[in-house]
C-alpha cells in the first residue's frame, strides 16, 4: 500500500529521522509524533478551556466581590460614624467635666471667695482680735488704777466730812457755852444769846449735812466699787473670749491653709487630667481616620481587580475560542461556593439571598439596643 506524502519534512526533521529507514517506518514515526502532538494540543485546549472557565468564574464572581466590598465599607463607615460620635461625646463630656473641676478648684484656691482669701481674712481678723484682747487688758489695768484713785478720793472726802462733823460738834459746844455766858450777862447778853442760838442751829445743820454727805459718800464708795469691779470682770471676760476666739481662728486658719495646699495639688492634678483628655482626643481623632484608609484600600483592590478583568476581557474578546460556557450554571456555582463561606446576613445580600439562620449586623445591633442586651446572647 502506497502512502501519499501529505507532509513535507523540514530539513531539521529529516536530519532527526534515522538514515536507514523505510517509508513505512517514517510514516509510523510520523503518526506517533502526530498523535503525541495531538495529545499535547488536546491538553493545551483543555488547559485553555479550563483557564477561560476560571476567568469567566472570576468575571461572574467580581460583582459579588464588589457588593461585598461595598457592604464592608458601608458597614465600617456606619459603625465608624457612630463610634466617632460616641467617642467625641464621651471625650467632650470628660473634657468639660475636667475643666469645670479645674475652674472650681482654681476658684477655691485663687478666686474672690477662695480658701486662700478666707485664710487671709481670718488672719486679719485674728490680728484684730489679738489687738482687741490687748486693749481690753490695758483698759482693765487702767480701770483698776482709776478705781483705786476714786477710792482714795472718796476716802479723802470722807475724812473731810468727818472733820466737818467734828467742827460742827465743836461749834455746837461753843454755841452752848456762848448761850450760858449770854444768860449770865442778863439783859446785856440778850443779843449775844440770839447769835449763840443761831450758831448752835447752824452747827447742828452742818453736822446733819456732813452726816448726809458721809452717808452719800459711803453709798458712792459701795456703788463705785461694785461698778468698777463688775466692769473689770466684764473686761476680763471680753479679753478671755477674744483670746479663745483668736486661738480658734488660728486653728481654722491652719486648717484652711492645709486644705488650700490639698486644693492646690488637686488643681495641678485636674490640669494634668484636662491636658491628658485633650491629648487622648487627638489620639482618637488620629485612629478614627484608619477607617477611611481601609475604605480607600478596598476601593483600590476593586480597581485592581477591575483592571485585571478588563485585561482578561480584551484577550477573550480578541480570541476566537470555542469554549461554550453556561453562565447560568456558572453563576449558580459561584453563589453556591460563596454561600458555603458566608456567615452573616449582610454577606448573603451580595448574592441576592437571605438567610434565616443569620442576622445582619444592623439587625443584630437593633436587637441588642431593643432588648438592652450586650453581646451575642442566645436564650433557650
Amino acid at each position: 500500500m502506497k502512502h501519499e506524502t501529505i507532509f513535507s519534512f523540514s530539513d531539521d526533521t529529516k536530519k532527526a529521522l534515522p538514515h536507514e529507514t523505510t517509508n513505512s517506518d517514517n510514516i509510523i514515526t510520523l503518526k506517533s509524533k502526530i498523535e503525541s502532538l495531538s495529545d499535547q494540543v488536546r491538553q493545551q485546549k483543555n488547559f485553555i478551556n479550563n483557564l477561560i472557565y476560571q476567568v469567566e468564574f472570576f468575571k461572574v464572581s467580581l460583582p459579588i466581590i464588589h457588593k461585598l466590598a461595598r457592604s464592608v465599607t458601608e458597614t465600617t463607615e456606619r459603625t465608624n460614624m457612630e463610634l466617632t460620635e460616641n467617642i467625641y461625646k464621651i471625650t467632650n463630656e470628660s473634657e468639660r467635666a475636667s475643666k469645670e473641676i479645674y475652674n472650681v478648684l482654681k476658684d477655691i484656691l485663687t478666686g474672690d471667695k477662695s480658701l486662700k482669701g478666707d485664710s487671709e481674712q481670718l488672719s486679719a481678723i485674728s490680728e484684730n482680735l489679738t489687738k482687741l484682747s490687748k486693749n481690753y487688758e490695758k483698759e482693765m489695768v487702767e480701770t483698776e488704777r482709776e478705781t483705786d484713785r476714786i477710792q482714795e478720793t472718796i476716802k479723802n472726802i470722807y475724812k473731810f466730812t468727818e472733820n466737818i462733823t467734828d467742827i460742827a460738834e465743836q461749834t455746837s459746844v461753843l454755841a452752848i457755852n456762848a448761850s450760858i455766858e449770854a444768860a449770865r450777862a442778863g439783859i446785856h447778853g440778850k443779843g449775844f444769846r440770839v447769835i449763840a442760838k443761831e450758831i448752835q442751829l447752824l452747827a447742828s445743820e452742818s453736822k446733819n449735812i456732813a452726816l448726809s454727805i458721809s452717808k452719800m459718800i459711803k453709798d458712792l464708795k459701795v456703788n463705785t466699787q461694785s461698778y468698777f469691779y463688775g466692769h473689770v470682770e466684764r473686761l476680763k471676760n471680753y479679753a478671755n473670749t477674744a483670746n479663745n476666739l483668736d486661738k480658734e481662728l488660728y486653728d481654722v486658719s491652719n486648717l484652711i491653709n492645709t486644705q488650700t495646699g490639698i486644693v492646690g495639688m488637686s488643681v495641678q492634678e485636674s490640669k494634668k487630667f484636662s491636658d491628658a483628655v485633650k491629648e487622648d482626643i487627638d489620639k482618637v481623632a488620629y485612629s478614627l481616620q484608619y477607617q477611611d484608609i481601609t475604605r480607600q484600600q478596598i476601593e483600590n483592590i476593586i480597581k485592581i481587580l477591575n483592571g485585571i478583568m478588563n485585561n482578561f476581557n480584551k484577550v477573550l474578546n480578541t480570541t476566537d475560542y470555542n469554549t461554550k460556557i453556561d453562565y447560568t450554571e456558572l453563576e449558580k456555582k459561584v453563589k453556591d461556593l460563596a454561600e458555603i463561606k458566608f456567615t452573616v446576613k449582610d454577606e448573603y445580600k451580595s448574592i441576592d439571598k437571605s438567610s434565616n439562620e443569620s442576622i445582619s449586623i444592623t439587625d443584630r445591633k437593633e436587637q441588642i439596643v431593643k432588648e438592652k442586651l450586650k453581646g451575642d446572647i442566645t436564650l433557650f
Binding site: M81, L83, D282, Y286, Q291, E299
Partner: protein, 126 residues
C-alpha cells in the same frame, strides 16, 4: 470672628473627625464631593457673599474628585488665591506634584494629627 473652613470629603465619619478636630478654632462647612462643594460656594455667595478662608480637600471622591474641584475653584476669581490643603490617603510623590502644579498650598496625608493640622491651617490663613 472665627474663619470659615470648607471640608470636602466623601466619608461622613471623616468629615465628622475633621469637624470635631477644628471646630474650636474655626467655623466649618462640609461638602460630600467637588460638585457639592462648588454648589455650597455658590450658596454662600448668594447668602451675603460669605467667604471661605481655606479648603480641605480629599483627592478620591465620587462625582467630582479633588483635583477637578481644585481646577474649577482656580477659575473662580474670588477663590483663585484662597489656600487649599489636600487631605487624603494618597501619599505618592506623583500625586503631590500634580497637586502642586494645580496650585494647592499643602498636602496632608491621612491619618492627620489634629494639632498639626490646626497649625498648618493657621500658618496659611493668618
Amino acid at each position: 470672628m472665627q474663619k470659615l473652613i470648607m471640608s470636602v470629603d466623601d466619608s461622613e465619619s471623616m468629615r465628622l473627625v475633621i469637624k470635631k478636630s477644628l471646630e474650636k478654632d474655626f467655623n466649618l462647612i462640609e461638602a460630600e464631593n467637588g460638585k457639592d462643594a462648588l454648589n455650597k460656594i455658590k450658596d454662600l455667595k448668594n447668602k451675603g457673599n460669605i467667604s471661605v478662608s481655606l479648603f480641605l480637600v480629599d483627592v478620591n471622591m465620587p462625582v467630582m474628585d479633588g483635583f477637578e474641584f481644585v481646577r474649577e475653584l482656580k477659575k473662580d476669581g474670588k477663590y483663585s488665591a484662597v489656600p487649599i490643603i489636600m487631605l487624603t490617603t494618597e501619599s505618592s510623590g506623583q500625586k503631590k506634584l500634580m497637586g502642586k502644579e494645580l496650585g494647592v498650598n499643602g498636602w496632608v496625608v491621612k491619618p492627620f494629627d489634629p494639632e498639626s493640622l490646626i497649625k498648618v491651617i493657621k500658618a496659611l490663613i493668618e
